[in-house]
Symmetry: C2
Subunit: 431 residues, 2 copies
Amino acid sequence: MGRTYIEDLSQHVGDEVQLHGWLYNKRSSGKIRFLLLRDGTGLLQGVMVKGQVDEAMFALADELTQESSFMMQGRVRKDDRAPGGFELDVTGLKIYQIAKEYPITPKEHGIEFLADRRHLWLRSARQHAIMRVRHRIIKAIRDFFDGRGFTLVDSPILTPAACEGTSTLFETPYFDLGSAFLTQSGQLYAEAGAMALGKVYCFGPTFRAEKSKTRRHLTEFWMVEPEVAFNDLNDNMDLAEEFLEYIVQSVLKDRGPELKALERNTAKLESVRKPFPRISYDEAVAILAKKGVAFEWGNDFGGTDETLISEEFDRPVMVHRYPSAVKAFYMKRDPLNPKVALAVDVLAPEGYGEIIGGSQREDDLDLLLQRIDEHRLPREAFEWYLDLRRFGSVPHAGFGLGIERTVSWICGLEHIRETVPFPRMIYRLTP
Amino acid sequence: MGRTYIEDLSQHVGDEVQLHGWLYNKRSSGKIRFLLLRDGTGLLQGVMVKGQVDEAMFALADELTQESSFMMQGRVRKDDRAPGGFELDVTGLKIYQIAKEYPITPKEHGIEFLADRRHLWLRSARQHAIMRVRHRIIKAIRDFFDGRGFTLVDSPILTPAACEGTSTLFETPYFDLGSAFLTQSGQLYAEAGAMALGKVYCFGPTFRAEKSKTRRHLTEFWMVEPEVAFNDLNDNMDLAEEFLEYIVQSVLKDRGPELKALERNTAKLESVRKPFPRISYDEAVAILAKKGVAFEWGNDFGGTDETLISEEFDRPVMVHRYPSAVKAFYMKRDPLNPKVALAVDVLAPEGYGEIIGGSQREDDLDLLLQRIDEHRLPREAFEWYLDLRRFGSVPHAGFGLGIERTVSWICGLEHIRETVPFPRMIYRLTP
């Protein structure tokens, strides 16, 4: 008899199967023992009746403590009242290990207590649900690009120079070559990829050594960055909205039980359908003014501003044409108004803030050189990047989506630390 | 008229289309201009005939230099002699930029010259083919695990301690917490994931600050690491062979033209079918002895040894039960012979060496503590990992596959530096 997983039980109704996992919970009721087994794919209640198994076997059930590992054998019975739709009439047990004093009990624990035990906390139903949604989001992202002719171009993590200044970079000695910096963004490399392969994306961990201690910041986070040759700002927004719709609808389709376990209001996700509203920075500023916020034209939006703007809409809102002074050197300025850059930020609904930042890129060599000088960046470090404007420069655009913020939004979480298996923050590097 | 890509031309035979890209090559023959356009998805020859377009347009064709960016409009014609099966009868041209003196010419260049221009070198047909095979390999890996109920559990890059000693680690200051080290392997975290989610994999960049200057070593490389609760060494080998077969057959199925461009002998890949031979370390040593190699029992195999062993087989060979002294502390010893660990390395054919390393893990708390002490590792750093043996320990096993070595093998490359868009080696951190 081979191993069976809980998520596959619908194919085994009436069969005798063996399930392997850990005790999530148990109850006793006279001559009956209810054993709730988790195996990583779901939860299953096993029902053991005294007299129907031998005495020694029945006694084993009483030895099981929370998180003890065991094999449970029995016949699968359909039961619509059971959480997963099935129960097991237990005929056999085998204990692997009795766990002693598992530290995470059903009572409430403080967040630092749980975070210190992240390797165990991941076993809880809530964390389990988040990880499965995270995985589904990442799969949707890759499926989206793979299905549209994009080529994956992994950008390097170890880089010789900063993309956007050096103050918030992790630095490591690198043999005889001085220092290497951990990447903040793969974009510049993705641009080289787009000139070679047309439509590309990079997808990997990125790093910011920012001293931000907010519920939206991690020092290590994953980012996907598509880049498309011959795309302009409008194409970029078309891509971003199609992309976000695809992600959200994929999760809704395949992760209903997980969203339910997280008590997520899915109606708010159902409405994430294109077209998304597209407003200019000026229009966003007008919304703030209407709400009585003293906001000066030319500044970047803060978290509260983003929430106030996004509250006006039932789906993500795309804010375009930001003041070029607050945006990165590589963003192309609007030919109709050089004070603004052809940038777009996508703000998630429900106060989840910016989840996408992107732009059309400056494709003119001389203008790009000028920007690099204005931003006081070392020209030598960008010689290779400038080559992209020397040899067959073309209009192109792209954006970056932060995975953890997206997970936070789709799962409806209060803090980003739950969105990743082992979060890294300025005050946390363990476990 | 929208943008069309070369790879989609089969749907547009007889249509007038616009293609955007770069000049890969051109030829003149009297009143005809042959323009070879690359757009990242393929190559297409445009044929422009004097008199069929206006004079100014015809003159534009002569301005185009290698890697100049342009739009080419015309009618798609099926032509079985053409590389992709189609040609374009050109009716219009629009130039974006004339590239001046593109440094990479059809003549031979030295490897350092090309490596310094990696951002441009990626545009060559050969590099293009490698990147597309790399992408297909990565997609096959994710599809394999996603389709078999595994959950992705991204392990952290920034870690507080070393998995296998600290001498080959990149180190960065981390706020008030001292130093962080770049991960060498996500395995220990994947084990925590497997106890929570049953079947998991992590897949991300890993780092080794090794001073190895061989054709097989990068300082930054991607690794996928599955880990499965309740799997033993045999299950682990079953998984590894099914996995490798799936990867190779997926590439053969979908990347035939790329393998052809790389002049890969695909017969050698066709034979990568399970079952793979499984031999013990002792049997591998016997092969070396038979070939007259002076090899002492207890040592690890070197590159040359691996080649001599793998030469005996037409597909990957799985070598199991290595001397425990040369293997990591977390590997379980064989109960039948504690001198050997329940480890398995998979050696690729054709001298490509080890592409998979894995093992069943030590699941006994006391034995694991003993190994940590024997390896002189700091016990405090592993307290969280030891928790996995305290609270519901189970037999489990997993392995790691190095992506770049796999790309190297499947593409038939001589050096690993071509397997990744922007390689990092001890003497190279740019571009």
